[in-house]
């Protein structure tokens, strides 16, 4: 197993995530896409740490930051989604389009 293999895995996860984020209109599915992108980042950062700089803390911190970001973003995301679902019964992005030109 080499760095390239893990980076490929990371890129694959990230790409699936991008596809999900760009193609889904259901807010929850879209957030799943974002989640997958973060997973890709985590894998890449862990691979960088393991293969390139086991002594340096930077990449390890990236992993921690990515996990924290995942938790925080998703907590806020579900709060907002719940709020708009309660207020307007909306769970798709195209149903929330009152603010526009």
């Amino acid at each position: 197993m080499s760095l390239e293999v893990f980076l490929l895995l990371a890129a694959a996860l990230f790409s699936v995530g991008v596809y999900g984020a760009l193609s889904q209109q259901s807010i929850v599915m879209l957030m799943m896409g974002l989640e997958l992108m973060l997973n890709g980042i985590t894998v890449a950062a862990a691979a960088f740490w393991y293969f390139i700089g086991p002594g340096a803390p930077s990449d390890q911190v990236v992993v921690v930051v990515a996990v924290v970001a995942m938790a925080v973003e998703m907590a806020v995301g579900f709060a907002v989604t719940t709020a708009i679902f309660r207020a307007r019964d909306v769970d798709m992005t195209d149903m929330a389009a009152d603010l526009k030109e």
């Binding site: 950062a45 970001a69 708009i84 929330a96």
Partner: protein, 500 residues
Amino acid sequence: MSSNRPPATSSASSLDEHQTDSDPRDPVKENPAALIPEIALVAAAVIGLLAGSWLPRRRQWVVRVLAAGACVAGLAATAAAMLDTPQRVFDGSYAVDPATNAARVIILAATLLVLCLSVDAVGGHRHETEFYVLVLLASAGAIALVGADDLLTLFAAYLLASVPSYGLVGLLRNPLGTEAALKYYLLGALLGIVMLTGTTVLVGVAGTSSYPGLRDALTGAPPAAVAFGVVAVTAGILFKIGGVPAQFWVPDAVDGASTPAAAFVSTIPKIGGLGAAWRLYTHALPAHSVDWALLAAIVAAASMTLGNLAAFGQTKVKRLLAYSTVSQVGYLLMAVTVAGRSGLAQRALWYYLAAYAVTNLGAFAVVAELPSAVTIEDYRGMARRHPALAAALAVCLLGLVGTPPTAIFVGKLEIFTATINGGYTWLAVLAVANTVASLYYYLRWLAPAFLAAPADREDAALVTAGTWSAAAAYTAAAASVALGIGAGIALPLGAGRLLP
């Protein structure tokens, strides 16, 4: 390309050695006193949150006083810090230098203005405490964006500045506010992840995340990876400042959010984001690597043009102001474009940021004072009924155009000069054209305000909200003029050499 940058490598390495000697893992050796303004904001937020849950709704003003006190304390501490020597703290990941201090002053003062203009709208509201707490946290995040001297600190600051803002926008729980929060959040989440991707790539190829380390390590890195990383990190910054292509949230969030929240998210994060871009470009990237100046120039040109054009036909005042902020970001990015090419750029950026903050908040304060007036047409007859407020509006809107003697006039002059100085004449020409064009839509708003209202109209639209918003508007207008007249004193405050 950065002839005026100090020959940094030697002093940077000696600084690093020094810190390694002093064992960065020992927090006692760090100097928490250097972070008093940030700590004050966060502490006030925590205390305010705890206190707010015990206080009855009618006495939540205590939290407001606490928040204002934190800002004032932070301003005092910053004043002291400005006399101190610049330093790096927390393992070199956070810089306290003239840029951070300038950002602290502007952000804390702007936060005070936001607190002032929000009293009429949120006073007595069941989420009053939460509003203040979120404002304090987001302000701390905005300051941290400027101080961050490490990519991971930068991303943490991004989260700290963003997450409370999402809450702020959706706080009033009306349907439009929730939709605004949803859009703001979704864009912020995507671009935040893009930013973290860029961070990962840069850290991966450089093996370090600190700016001085990056500047050394990125010299031999694959250029395509560096270019991707820089654009991706810039994407997050662009979200914070509302520049193209991350400007989509601006009109929708400003339109849907409550006016105080809109005033906050369209002003304070910009100060942090632009400071962050400045430090990132000039201090984390080696000379002759990525042409970040071109990147900033493209984004600047697109932002100012798109913002101005989109504001042309706009009839809702909040959306008009939203687009105007997008175009202002374009002018501000011009200073970033010529960072390192023109010695004038740095002071021009900070001066313009200060001028923009007070002027933009002044315009929002007027909107907050007249909560029922939604469209431009609703302002008809305003000068007759509220002459002082109309005068404040005129000062702020003409200020946004850049009319002497307001502060933005001086700011634009400085930035355009710096841009031409730095060799981006085409950008300056485009900016001048945009400035001239922008007069059109600001005047479209002012003209009805100074016309007589039709006789048969009930003036329900021009009912005022209270004294606090009006006070904020007068203060901001006065400050805008004062800053313009006192430019000679204010300008040098934004200069001062950054830590290498």
